[in-house]
């Protein structure tokens, strides 16, 4: 096995056309990996905060997400209950241990049953909290972990994602910077899911069908 590794690496090294010296190449690679130069950020990714939230909502709606805005976390449980009623869904949902979600006063919604933890595939409705949003494309960034288990993102039929307005960034590059850092380097959670709309397929005659293997509906609640 170690031999195969050496062979592949040697084959790559020997066939390259541009014969820069190894020292120069190593330097270029090290610089790129530590410097991490930002490329071209589209203008629409560089809006002011207030315009960003509007663009985010507009782009998310375009890809068949539905978007509502509430003032504070206190308003989240009622907004979720509303959604369940409107869609004739049972008053049951699953969520992780996210602190901002936990803070909301769920007890006020008397009939609501809340399960905590990862999904086993039997849940109709899941609630998550996003780390960040991307206005450019109406995209949510969700990070794995017990706060927001990855399985909820994909197994619930209806996925409700709460996001703080201030976490809506303009572009993908800025969204990365919302993750934890160590020595100026992003600390990657096991999974980072960028989600842009409910799941879909075009595999039968190129027809757009919503609700392929993941959620059939994506509801975004913007707080603030």
């Amino acid at each position: 096995m170690a031999d195969t590794r050496a062979t592949v690496l040697a084959d790559i090294k020997n066939s390259r056309s541009k014969k820069a010296s190894d020292a120069d190449r190593a330097k270029a690679v090290a610089e790129r990996l530590s410097g991490r130069p930002t490329g071209i950020i589209p203008k629409r990714g560089q809006l002011k905060q207030s315009e960003r939230v509007d663009l985010f909502a507009e782009m998310a709606t375009k890809v068949h997400s539905s978007v509502v805005k509430v003032k504070t976390y206190e308003d989240v449980p009622a907004s979720v209950s509303n959604y369940l009623r409107e869609h004739n869904l049972p008053a049951e949902l699953i969520m992780g241990s996210d602190r901002r979600l936990a803070k909301a006063k769920w007890a006020a919604e008397k009939n609501l049953t809340i399960k905590k933890g990862p999904s086993d595939g039997q849940d109709l409705v899941g609630v998550s909290h996003a780390k960040a949003g991307i206005a450019e494309t109406g995209t949510l960034l969700l990070a794995s972990g017990s706060e927001n288990p990855t399985t909820i993102n994909f197994l619930a039929d209806h996925h409700i994602v709460v996001i703080a307005a201030k976490d809506i960034k303009g572009d993908m590059e800025s969204a990365w910077s919302s993750l934890n850092k160590k020595d100026d380097q992003v600390e990657m959670p096991r999974a980072v899911n960028f989600i842009t709309g409910p799941s879909r397929s075009g595999d039968i005659e190129q027809k757009l069908l919503l609700g392929a293997h993941g959620p059939r509906a994506l509801q975004i609640i913007i707080v603030g």
């Binding site: 980072v192 409910p198 609700g211």
Partner: protein, 477 residues
């Protein structure tokens, strides 16, 4: 890689006479071309991002050995395992060993062209392990025991009615009176059947759109969510990816993502773009217990430093296929390779050898549309020309083909004349017939002429030929 590319001529003939196929293929230009054009036009920076994408990949390829080592180190730091495979056989063996170590009975699979390339499914089946394709298109062709006919839309050669028949044949639990005439019901059925399979699977296989050296992450870009269920619910996640998938940083990856989905499906961003970094962490409630990456060379390192190096920039968006008039006419299977269309005509001979796949670059009209839409600005026509020259030099083509090539070369050396002639695909081929006013001396010719009887050099306009094909499709309805 199983190839029937040497049968190109008869494959083409069959494809052109296949009314069902012709009907299905009409969805290709209809679906993709317009959407890509709109998405590209809606982003002012699109062209600049294409340049950026090229630059990032060129830099990476010049330092590929170093980036792969940096990537490997990060995967290991995050608790993952990296396996190196020189050949398809190596990759299959490593994949099987991982499955056997975990006593796997079934494995789920996200859509992956690399596992098609190394024929992983066949190998697993031979060893008593059931592979379950979970992407809807891949699932459909698995039911039919077929190969994908397109790299991002594997079942695009099929119509709803054919898929319904397959579901009824295999899903024997379906009652006869259950209405399956809508794509929605077919999707719902597949969703239900596959849900169980994710949970049963011991191992989940995915490919990777990118590998990020900075973080040791593998990236998949999908719309259905099946790839994520595959890699989250399997006890073991195995990523199989070819060596050129590596990019330096998250920032670099973000640049290329902006052109990938737009070029592929006309979306600004696909529904799910997931970065996976290692196995389940200590406090994680979900995710795989083990995370493996199999890095496959299979001929790619040989492409470096040659006139085909630029092909390694390919991000498998499928745009060149979607815009190819030859593909529109014959579909993917006729190419006899899992990589069809312009990208396949360049890549397949590189991977499988010009002896086996050298006829493929002839399946082109050199109209240049592929290059004009390729987000990575890969000079596909130029590379197909290189292959034709090599094949010609090696006298691999039948005499008739060489004669055709000589004619073609005549025009190629007179770019103005050539351009005037190839502005539309079919007349271009017909013109290659020269004084005989027939193109029967070209390898593709009898296929084309049988169904179109293309006269030359008067030619017919693309629209006229189109109308005839439409008429053929009507028969299929």
């Amino acid at each position: 890689m199983e190839l029937t590319s040497h049968n190109l001529k008869s494959n083409v003939k069959d494809a052109l006479g296949n009314a069902q196929l012709q009907k299905a293929l009409s969805n290709v230009p209809k679906g993709f071309i317009d959407k890509r054009a709109k998405a590209a036009a809606a982003l002012d920076e699109f062209e600049a991002l294409r340049d950026k994408g090229r630059e990032i990949k060129d830099h990476t390829l010049a330092n590929l050995d170093l980036y792969l080592q940096a990537y490997e180190q990060k995967v290991i730091e995050n608790g993952g395992h990296v396996h190196w495979a020189k050949t398809a056989e190596d990759a299959r063996r490593i994949a099987l060993e991982i499955c056997q170590k975990h006593n796997a009975k079934t494995v789920t699979k996200g859509k992956s062209m690399i596992t098609e390339e190394v024929e992983l499914n066949e190998h697993l089946l031979e060893n008593g392990i059931e592979p379950v394709e979970t992407d809807l298109g891949e699932y459909i062709i698995q039911l039919r025991n077929e190969k994908p006919s397109h790299i991002i839309a594997p079942a695009i050669h099929l119509n709803q009615g054919q898929i319904e028949e397959d579901f009824r044949r295999v899903h024997t639990h379906l009652e006869d009176d259950r209405d399956m005439s809508e794509p929605e019901t077919l999707l719902a059925e597949a969703r239900e059947v596959l849900r169980k399979r994710y949970f049963e699977a011991d191992v989940g296989f995915t490919g990777a759109n990118f590998l990020v050296a900075e973080t040791g992450s593998s990236v998949i870009v999908t719309n259905e969510g099946n790839g994520d269920l595959t890699q989250t619910l399997g006890k073991v996640h195995v990523v199989m990816a070819s060596i050129e998938k590596v990019v330096p940083t998250l920032a670099d990856c973000s640049q290329i993502l902006r052109i990938l989905a737009r070029s592929a499906t006309g979306q600004d961003m696909s529904v799910y773009t997931t970065f996976s970094t290692g196995p389940k962490r200590e406090k994680d409630p979900d995710g795989p217990d083990e995370y493996h990456v199999i890095l496959l060379d299979n001929g790619r390192s040989d492409m470096l430093g040659t006139e085909f190096e630029e092909m390694l920039r390919c991000i498998r968006c499928g745009a060149c296929i979607n815009h190819c008039p030859v593909y529109h006419s014959i579909g993917g299977h006729a190419y006899g390779s899992i990589y069809p269309g312009p990208m396949g005509s360049v890549l397949t001979p590189s991977l499988a050898g010009v002896e086996k796949a050298g006829t493929l670059p002839n399946a082109s009209t050199f109209c240049g549309r592929c290059e004009s839409v390729c987000p990575m600005r890969i000079p596909l026509p130029k590379m197909m020309r290189h292959w034709r020259e090599r094949e010609f030099e090696q006298h691999l083509q039948p005499k008739a083909a060489r004669y055709g090539l000589a004619l073609w070369a005549y025009f190629a050396k007179r770019p103005k004349l050539y351009r005037a002639l190839v502005s539309f695909a079919m007349p271009a081929l017909s013109l290659l017939g020269g004084t005989s006013k027939r193109i029967s001396s070209l390898p593709l010719a009898s296929g084309w002429t049988k169904h179109r009887e293309l006269p030359a050099p008067e030619g017919r306009t693309f629209m006229q030929a189109w109308a005839q094909r439409e008429a053929l499709k009507q028969e299929a309805k």
